[in-house]
């Protein structure tokens, strides 16, 4: 890991990105900047290319045109070796964890360490067990196979693997989808605490309104092939784009807002009583 930049510096810069499959254009001249140390939530209707954007940034999809800079380096014009260096500093949690099914959780977490670094097996195990507990899994999950885990545990195991190499940026593809509300809230807390203790930057594709309220520092809305609005949730909510209005002011949007306001009140009360 090279020197960490200052918090708030741009860590990913996307300029005029155009992607598409066949005759279908997914993004056109899309601009987006992710700042170091923030949790950025990406929202948008189905088919607006949230996951495609994520895959374009990590290099799984080649864009038609545009520029993507990660850590200030242009990743599109890079050769494979330099790209792998960048990849080592990125962690990705795919939708269902994408764990290697033939390996235990611990072996999954060790896999990137073994691939990239020459470490003693003792140290590998220590690092793996730390990442596993950091991700909120009990230690006895380490020896289990992915098929023996529940959906929520698989996501946590996927997160442990994404964190194995101490990435600067973590990409999460719908981390709370398919989790029960309690599990989803715990996952949000986990992301927030990891961001704070490890200084992570988090790029999170999500549909979960509660996650947006609780976890995200900024929210970017994808619509009509571009980023239609970006900023703290309060600002984005005021945008008068019809989709954004419907999204945040629909019944679910209002409910999520109400619960987050309630929670802030509660924590405010707690602070007051402490004083």
């Amino acid at each position: 890991m090279t020197a960490r930049g200052e918090k708030g510096d741009p860590i990913i810069e996307i300029k005029k990105l155009t992607t598409g499959f066949g005759s279908q254009i997914i993004h056109q001249d899309l601009d987006l900047t992710v700042k170091r140390g923030e949790i950025l939530g990406i929202v948008g209707g189905s088919g607006t290319g949230k996951s495609v954007l994520l895959k374009a940034i990590i290099g799984l999809i080649k864009p038609r045109s545009g520029a993507i800079r990660i850590f200030g380096e242009d990743v599109l014009s890079m050769n494979d070796r330099d790209h792998r260096e960048i990849d080592r500093r990125l962690g990705v949690l795919f939708q269902d964890g994408a764990l290697f099914s033939a390996m235990t959780v611990a072996q999954n977490v060790i896999a990137p360490l073994r691939e990239h670094l020459n470490l003693s097996s003792e140290l590998q195990q220590e690092i793996a067990s730390m990442k596993i507990t950091l991700s909120g899994l009990p230690l006895d999950a380490a020896t289990k196979y992915p098929s023996e885990l529940s959906g929520g545990m698989r996501k946590r195991a996927g997160l442990a693997r994404a964190l194995a190499m101490d990435p600067d940026i973590v990409f999460l593809d719908e981390p709370t989808a398919g989790l029960d509300p309690i599990g989803a809230a715990k996952f949000d807390d986990l992301i927030i605490s990891l961001k704070e203790s490890l200084g992570l930057t988090v790029f999170m594709v999500t549909h979960d309104l509660d996650s947006l309220h609780r976890a995200c520092d900024r929210v970017a809305v994808l619509a009509e092939k571009k980023v239609r609005a970006i900023g703290p949730l309060e600002e984005v909510r005021k945008n008068d784009h019809p989709w954004i209005q419907e999204y945040f002011s629909g019944p679910r949007g209002r409910a999520a807002l109400a619960s987050s306001v309630q929670e802030q009140d509660r924590s405010g009360d707690r602070e007051a009583t402490v004083e």
Binding site: M1, A3, Q107, S120, Q125, M130, A142, L198
Partner: protein, 383 residues
């Protein structure tokens, strides 16, 4: 970026460890791990200060190793439990959280399960394998029973036959396979003729090549090779199709809707197969004769007319019938095994691949077993 390193000083009240450089995995943290472990053992009885003023950057592994060293002895561990930064000096603001996180999650774990000795493991696997085999045979036989009951129910009320589905599978496993089956049999017939020509010429009995081709192709190779090809082509396709439906819970959805998967998926495939395999066998037999006859004509000057008369003279219809009779039985075995293995898929896509392989191996084995049984049966009957 300088490599991770540390220096030790023994002071009056204990050790002082001065960490310098980049304490991250990428900067050679693995290289000093052993040295740090040895120091941790040595420092057990004494107090320890860790000075981080020389650390440029640090990652979770670095923080973990420092906390591990700090907590190497129980006395220091107790102090560190109250204050995660106990014993650390000159910690940069950004790394306090990291050290605290490392302290909370410091727990060695057994990652490789202890498996015991290799010999015992081998015995265990042999035992398990035998038991699995027995259960597998039992399950297959019970599934066969299920299929027969299903078949009886459907045939006793023919309205419940799904004709569209049957015809679709007849096209898929029958019509679409004609080209490959025909070509294969043609070549097999030709190869048998060539081999017969060389060997029989030594005895001056070239003319018997007609019997050789006729009997082998009509009685055995036509039906056996067709069955083998179809087991690989359609049996595996049955397993894959039904297995992937099982994985996507489509089978559960069917049952929830009151559609019987046996009637909707298994029986149409089975019935289609029982009708098309004899047809394919017929094509295979004819193509084999044509291939053999062609070689006999070009290589041995046995004219087509002579080939035909001799075939009619000597190769009685029995040989042909013996071949054809076996076909429906092979078809039954292949489709029951294919569907059974598809229904057994559960869990992951890996399972799907495994069961597809098992399906092909089991059908081939069963087909050859049946063929051997038929051979004995017909021998007893003197056919």
């Amino acid at each position: 970026m300088s490599a991770a390193a540390f220096e030790l000083q023994e002071t009056e009240d204990g050790w002082c460890l001065e960490a310098t450089g980049t304490w991250s995995l990428g900067a050679g943290l693995g290289n000093i791990d052993g040295k740090l472990r040895r120091f941790a053992e040595k420092s057990m009885s004494k107090a320890l200060k860790i000075d981080l003023s020389g650390v440029e950057t640090m990652d979770t592994a670095g923080a973990m190793m420092l906390q591990r060293t700090m907590r190497a002895c129980s006395q220091r561990e107790q102090m560190a439990d109250d204050d995660a930064l106990y014993g650390f000096d000159n910690v940069k603001e950004g790394y306090k959280g990291l050290l605290a996180a490392a302290a909370n999650h410091l727990s060695p774990c057994e990652i490789d399960v202890n498996q015991g000795s290799a010999f015992v493991l081998m015995l265990e696997r042999v035992g398990r394998g035998t038991e699995d085999l027995m259960h597998e045979i039992l399950r297959l036989v019970s599934y066969l029973g299920e299929v027969l009951v299903g078949l009886y129910t459907v045939l006793s009320r023919p309205k419940r036959l799904r004709m569209t589905s049957i015809v679709h599978h007849m096209e898929e496993s029958g019509l679409n396979a004609t080209l490959i089956v025909g070509l294969m049999s043609f070549l097999i017939g030709a190869v048998i003729a060539f081999m017969g020509a060389t060997v029989l010429a030594q005895f001056g009995a070239q003319i018997f090549v007609v019997e050789l081709i006729g009997i082998t192709v009509l009685r055995e190779f036509g039906v056996l090779l067709t069955a083998i090809l179809i087991a690989g082509r359609s049996g595996s396709a049955f397993t894959a199709a039904i297995g992937s439906m099982k994985l996507r819970e489509e089978i559960d959805a069917m049952e929830a809707m009151g559609i019987n998967p046996m009637e909707a998926l298994v029986l149409p495939r089975l019935i289609a197969m029982v009708f098309v395999l004899p047809a394919l066998t017929f094509i295979a037999a004819m193509m084999g004769l044509i291939g053999g006859g062609l070689v006999a004509w070009l290589q041995m000057d046995i004219s087509p007319a002579m080939f035909l008369t001799r075939t009619q003279d000597i190769i009685v219809v029995e040989n042909f019938m013996v071949g054809m009779v076996k076909a429906p039985f092979f078809a039954f075995a292949i489709s029951v095994i294919g569907c059974y293995q598809g229904m057994r898929v559960s869990g992951s896509a890996e399972e799907l691949g495994r069961h597809t392989t098992i399906s092909v191996v089991q059908s081939l084995f069963t087909v050859i077993l049946l063929d051997a049984g038929f051979a004995i049966f017909f021998m007893e009957l003197n056919i």
